[in-house]
């Protein structure tokens, strides 16, 4: 029963494929799998830390200023993640550029605080945050995987396409992101529909 809080973020309420939240980082940093993984993990870290703190403080945060308090807490963890990446992984930090500080406005995070962590006990909030974070990371990896293979002929920066493969540059451009995301969402819905049919 409690496990449901964890798995719902990965499939049934996937933040990208079902809730269609956090589109800005999803479309912008899914050109390569490495970027997708880093972005996903950074977001998961921020989501998890903020959920824990907000769930602990949920009874003392006044309702009128809750959004302001959430934002301060989220911004603190985003800055921590930003400094950490700059110090430990300067290359990744450079390629993600402004998208790390922009996690502050990722609506997945504020959305989970408002809808879940501010109303639920700490343990449940932790499961919810990890599930949502992983769901976000997995969606980014699938999206970035398709785009990286077609646009650069590589996966995780390893060449996998045969010599002489013509790169589909459009897949690295915004148009490629929209097309791939649309196709992935329809595939996802199709699988869900098939699942329901076989059950009934």
């Amino acid at each position: 029963m409690i496990l449901k809080e964890f798995t719902k973020g990965i499939w049934k309420e996937n933040p990208v494929l079902v809730q269609v939240l956090g589109m800005c980082p999803t479309l912008a940093v899914s050109t390569k799998v490495v970027f997708g993984v880093s972005m996903g993990l950074a977001t998961t870290f921020v989501l998890l830390s903020s959920s824990i703190i907000i769930s602990i403080l949920r009874k003392i945060i006044p309702n009128q200023v809750r959004i302001a308090v959430f934002t301060v807490i989220i911004a603190t963890f985003v800055t921590v993640a930003d400094y950490f990446l700059k110090a430990q992984f300067p290359d990744i930090s450079k390629s993600l550029g402004p998208y790390i500080p922009l996690i502050v406005v990722n609506c997945i995070i504020l959305g989970r605080q408002e809808a879940f962590a501010s109303k639920q006990p700490v343990f449940k909030s932790i499961l919810d945050a990890i599930g949502m974070g992983l769901g976000f990371t997995l969606s980014l990896v699938v999206l970035a995987g398709v785009r990286e293979i077609l646009a650069f002929g590589t996966f995780f920066n390893m060449t996998i396409m045969p010599e002489g493969y013509t790169k589909w540059v459009i897949m690295a451009l915004p148009a490629g992101a929209f097309m791939t995301l649309g196709l992935i969402i329809s595939l996802f819905n199709w699988i869900n529909m098939k699942g329901k049919e076989s059950k009934s």
Partner: protein, 185 residues
């Protein structure tokens, strides 16, 4: 009244804790971040001058320039940074130039936000190699869709003409500045 005090105290407390936390993180990482930037600069210099052993920043107003020496302390040339607008954002380049300030040794792209797969090709070796031993007199020029036949010519990247042109323009401006500043001696 009680409500207002509650709101004020929670906001103050959360902000204070957040500030304290950030001071700690900043203290722990600031040095490392500065070191990383210094290392990136050094790496770029020695990629341009593979025989280079040592580099020293020359004290110049609004120009970041380094003298590069080899193992025998002999001057190989100068490395300088220059920046300007690309297609999507600022491009920052580290360029190496010989002692006579006429021939480029090579370039490295330090920062760029060009389109992946198109403009970002300026960071790839084939494009950077075009600047090796490139003459800069009177300045660098580019050709489109044909092989360069002059010693001061480079070919733009197909589909990334604006980014290629930007690199040439930034370099020309940077070289001019270097000549002005270094010629004074």
């Amino acid at each position: 009244m009680k409500k207002i005090i509650h709101i004020l105290s929670v906001l103050t407390l959360v902000s204070l804790l957040s500030g304290a936390c950030l001071v700690g993180v900043y203290k722990a990482t600031a040095q490392k971040i500065v070191d990383n930037q210094k290392k990136a600069t050094k790496d770029a210099i020695f990629k341009i001058f593979p025989e280079g052993k040592d580099s020293k920043q020359i004290d110049k107003k609004d120009l970041e320039i380094f003298s590069v020496t080899d193992a025998k302390q002999e001057l190989l040339g100068y490395a300088f940074t220059c920046a300007g607008n690309g297609y999507q954002g600022e491009i920052k380049i580290m360029a190496g130039i010989e002692k006579d300030l006429n021939t480029l040794v090579g370039i490295e792209i330090l920062e760029s936000q060009e389109t992946p797969g198109l403009g970002q090709e300026i960071t790839n070796q084939p494009f950077k190699d075009e600047f090796k031993q490139l003459k800069t007199e009177p300045n660098i020029i580019y050709v489109k869709g044909e092989k360069p036949d002059q010693p001061n010519e480079i070919e733009t990247i197909t589909g990334a003409t604006i980014s290629s042109k930007a690199v040439v323009a930034i370099l020309n401006k940077g070289i001019e500045k270097v000549r002005q500043e270094m010629g004074e001696k």
